[in-house]
Symmetry: D2
Subunit: 385 residues, 4 copies
Amino acid sequence: MPKRKICVVVTARPSYSRIKSALTAIQNHPDLELQLVIAGSALLDRYGNAVDFIEKDGFPIAAKVFMVLEGENPTTMAKTTGLGVMELTNVFYNLKPDAVITIADRFETIATSIAAAYQNIPLVHIQGGEVTGSIDEKVRHANTKLADLHLVSSDDARERVIKLGESPEMVINTGCPSIDLAKEIHETPNLDFNPLEKYGGVGANLDWKNGYIVVMQHPVTTEYKESKKHIQETLKAVKNLDYPTFWFWPNVDAGSDGTSNGIRAFRELEQPKNIHFFKNMEPLDFLKLLSNSKALVGNSSAGLRECAYLGLPVVNIGNRQFRRSRAENVTDVSYSQIEIEKAIKMAITSEKFESSTIYGNGNAGTKIAEILATTELTFSKTITY
Amino acid sequence: MPKRKICVVVTARPSYSRIKSALTAIQNHPDLELQLVIAGSALLDRYGNAVDFIEKDGFPIAAKVFMVLEGENPTTMAKTTGLGVMELTNVFYNLKPDAVITIADRFETIATSIAAAYQNIPLVHIQGGEVTGSIDEKVRHANTKLADLHLVSSDDARERVIKLGESPEMVINTGCPSIDLAKEIHETPNLDFNPLEKYGGVGANLDWKNGYIVVMQHPVTTEYKESKKHIQETLKAVKNLDYPTFWFWPNVDAGSDGTSNGIRAFRELEQPKNIHFFKNMEPLDFLKLLSNSKALVGNSSAGLRECAYLGLPVVNIGNRQFRRSRAENVTDVSYSQIEIEKAIKMAITSEKFESSTIYGNGNAGTKIAEILATTELTFSKTITY
Amino acid sequence: MPKRKICVVVTARPSYSRIKSALTAIQNHPDLELQLVIAGSALLDRYGNAVDFIEKDGFPIAAKVFMVLEGENPTTMAKTTGLGVMELTNVFYNLKPDAVITIADRFETIATSIAAAYQNIPLVHIQGGEVTGSIDEKVRHANTKLADLHLVSSDDARERVIKLGESPEMVINTGCPSIDLAKEIHETPNLDFNPLEKYGGVGANLDWKNGYIVVMQHPVTTEYKESKKHIQETLKAVKNLDYPTFWFWPNVDAGSDGTSNGIRAFRELEQPKNIHFFKNMEPLDFLKLLSNSKALVGNSSAGLRECAYLGLPVVNIGNRQFRRSRAENVTDVSYSQIEIEKAIKMAITSEKFESSTIYGNGNAGTKIAEILATTELTFSKTITY
Amino acid sequence: MPKRKICVVVTARPSYSRIKSALTAIQNHPDLELQLVIAGSALLDRYGNAVDFIEKDGFPIAAKVFMVLEGENPTTMAKTTGLGVMELTNVFYNLKPDAVITIADRFETIATSIAAAYQNIPLVHIQGGEVTGSIDEKVRHANTKLADLHLVSSDDARERVIKLGESPEMVINTGCPSIDLAKEIHETPNLDFNPLEKYGGVGANLDWKNGYIVVMQHPVTTEYKESKKHIQETLKAVKNLDYPTFWFWPNVDAGSDGTSNGIRAFRELEQPKNIHFFKNMEPLDFLKLLSNSKALVGNSSAGLRECAYLGLPVVNIGNRQFRRSRAENVTDVSYSQIEIEKAIKMAITSEKFESSTIYGNGNAGTKIAEILATTELTFSKTITY
């Protein structure tokens, strides 16, 4: 019997962390063949060149798809998605996969969904059923309605996908693959590299050995004009605290220009002495960095997922993660320097929290591979009600 | 106060009939300005040049969008959609509408949805919440999840959209605008034109004055390879009955090549003496033709909608309208010459049915315009559960 | 030493005949590897599905590219070209050829040129340096200015390319590969198949054994609105002559709708008893059909190329081949029923002409392969004056 | 008589300077209507937001076209061009201009040419007939072969376009519009603004009042991997000289990443005390800055054009301007710190040169407008030999 060809489309740096353990498990499964497609900002230097880490991790790449229109506004975001549909349609036409995996809810993930569903290729959606604010919310549930098989990350998410009219037997809680990585580093927790030496970056030459925090704040697309203002609140808070800080540049998104420009302008004017900036980091290294930090600040979903498992205090800013399930490690604050400063102070002095498994217990990758190898794959469905 | 600019995207011949009365009502409303975009197969001669009827009806056209890739297979269907996203994004960027309307569930309607939603333009979905087979089913519900306001055609549909997690106050049953046209001709029911003279077409020079049937059968995209076989069953049944028949060519769709080729090949070989073929007809004329016929045969949604109101017997073939609400006028049969023949015979001799209002009572257009003029328009939402 | 990878892009039925012997020679050359890309109308059923013949001839296909926008007007022609640039860029990016071959002057051939030249891949242009009317004229010379190596079909063409500022050592007259096929069938001239049985087609069941003519008339893009009127002149002339005729449907082009529609309307109304219609024919069969005919009528470039070698009388209509080199076998006429009729009558009764080698003597394919294997390939050049 | 609609497509910052005086003259001409399209990098913040200056100068914009694919490599450059063809085709379809103007030789200018020529719109090419290295060389002459009317900048260029087979009466030397601006500021030569205050920028807070130089060095696409190395030579030379320097970031181009990255890395590491960096400047301000400087360094074509008229010493690095006509003000050097340093030293101490009119005497804009208003416009041509 020929192996099932499983095509996974990774379009951005954070999506790679969210799928990496599943990629490994698919690659190692005797009945599966991995077809890895790297697209969008995952190919771009400006967004951290995720493709380099992926290749270094030894995954062979079946196709690379340049599809990001410059401009970083809602118009180019929509056009990038349209271009993605056209490009990925070609890719699937040539690769002829038995199933395609689309990951989560970034705006361009619907391109993967359409290119697969319209060509009658069974579509698997990872990490559906969650709730957030912004355009991601629309995209995620639209992906659900285009997908045939749903591999979700929590019980809460499973229940929601079923309420959306999907057949319960096609909605399986595997946990989130990102937790697999968190588990891996949780077992060997020390920071075995010097971030400054290994990743360069720009900004202050930090003394981080006695404690540091990590910041990662992305623009929120429905508020893109305010991105610059929002990021300034965080910047002022962090500068004011004068505590060693590793700061990661945002992903590509409408408004990232506002966020990036805000950061650049702040650096130029204020030259903060306690912040060092990175573009990107290998997923495992990033988790080690988190695991050894005092807190994560910003609006990254890692704060709700990996950090739940790690028990790390998180200061979650604004409404990007609105209504997504969270464990007790998360403190929500608004875009306010004062609130942010106060919450970071609390987090730095706080103990670690109990490890939570709301997003899985660390074996999502192998579960996903096993399901892909054994479930009957179809491309036609009807709503259950 | 400036008028609200309402942008309506019509991508195909049948969509025009489904929205026409709403276009008129929007155009006539003192607080609304209509921005009509004609795209896709509605611009193409091969699919009946709907644009000509639209211009003749006096609607000014704000933009025309060529986006159909040749090939009529799932691959070109997907690429057409991607191209549509790119093109419609430009159009909305330039027109700056206050709301965009996407109609029903054809594959390319999701392009309208993405281009509007990603640019933070309030998206109104007409005719969501219904159930069918094939790719339309996925597209329709994905449109629902991308849309902010849902103007549905039946109570059944309203209930389903609410179950999909939409706020009840944003889901309004206006009835289907296509019923408005049916009501209009129902009140003046005579056939006031000679179809052969007015529309030309090809094939037998029918004597239709003593009774005729109408056939309209589209390919079903998830079965596109079998389209040719399916259409042959209908062709053989109709030829065998030797009853005067007006037959309409199918819309653009993956597989329409199979259907069209099947019809062409049959004509060439069999030269049926009782069938005359049309490419297209003005919506009102089409309804008059239906209203004066003995039965509609095929898989057009007009059989379930307009014909419910008209009380016309319908022979509905195959699973294209699977699970869509239907009144008692519809007889479902499979792709089988024998079943089709038997059902048509019954229909020809049957009385007309009572008029049913399951898809509205004929004032959908004005209701839609009034709602668009008065509802608060937003582009951000969160699932209700 | 690794083989040189030579990527050839075939975008239409006639281009295949013009390159076939070179494909064979490249495939057989020990130092070359053929990467064959089939794109555009060569993939479409409506234009004769050239891809089927190509696969039947045993050429492995490296990539298929759907890129034709429906509409057949100048606007979709331009957009098809833009889409072609995007698609072919992907293809070359993935195939990494050592050289790309673009063929002649169809509108979409410039897409191949741009996709190669902009990616710093040496570009080889086949059949540059000729002269015609219409948009082809602009495209051909623009291709020349984008290309690095020019393999032309005649001394006249070579001289012109050099005048255009190309280095003489990069401009080589190989003759036209289409002549290689003409030579092949010239040596075994009998018609060894029954066209009606082998190719089906539609229309009259001809008695062709006692003499017939062949018609192939394409729309001329700069006159596309008049295509319908032009084709009617030819149709009336051919019907009037009542001589057995094999007629080939036109290629995709702006205006082909006019031409095709004209033919379809004429067939429906006039039901000519002496014309049989084909969509396509294998290149060798087409040449055998020509070789055994009394004359070729229309505006195909085969009339000037292959028919020069075959010595076949040709009635060349209109200005599509304006100023292209021609031997004495060609009679030029305008779009006039009377002129066409008169010229066909003369041609039918005329003797065959002497074989002319103005477009080569039948070994272009092997010459081309040898040059590709041995010439130094570059992608940078400067005009010679 | 209706005014002739002249559509001008500006795709980048430098193109605006090269056409500005013609835009004014078209706008002011009683028989012409200007349709200005801003596209590509002219819309992007990263490349200096030329669109802001254009709007500030009071030109109404008929359409904005986002078309730049991220990646800045040859592959995205080609895809940007393909996308540009599709987008500009729409724009011209809607604007229905009587003529389209494409400017010079940037890679994406061929998109304008194709979109116009394929839609049978008369195409006017500005600044054809010159000679350089790199992909521009191919693009410029391909534009010539697609264009119908050629408005060139020098006698040398006119002669070359005619040699390329264009009819002499359609090739007119108007001079270069960029010289019109140079003439304008030449007459009022003082620097009437403080560059640091008006344009901000980043880097050292220069004392420029006692003399400064200007640097503008773009990547060369056929050498894009070496861009970083090349720019470092210039950076080291300029830092070493320790002379006040205004440095402009490069345009979008394959390899601009190499150049930009090279500059960024150098800044971070070396923090040069004598360099201030700008993204952009209004064309007139830029010329005033040049006019008051000691020398222009880099590979900008302004060095050969405007600086010829201004008589400013220019150190021209590398082969980007290879073989373009130049006056005596230009010193050519290779990518070598030593050569560059030496040439700058000489330039700083040199006198100004005599003003040269090889690229026009300052009335190109009005000449262009007058020709556009009076020449017969056609879209069909045949090579002259």
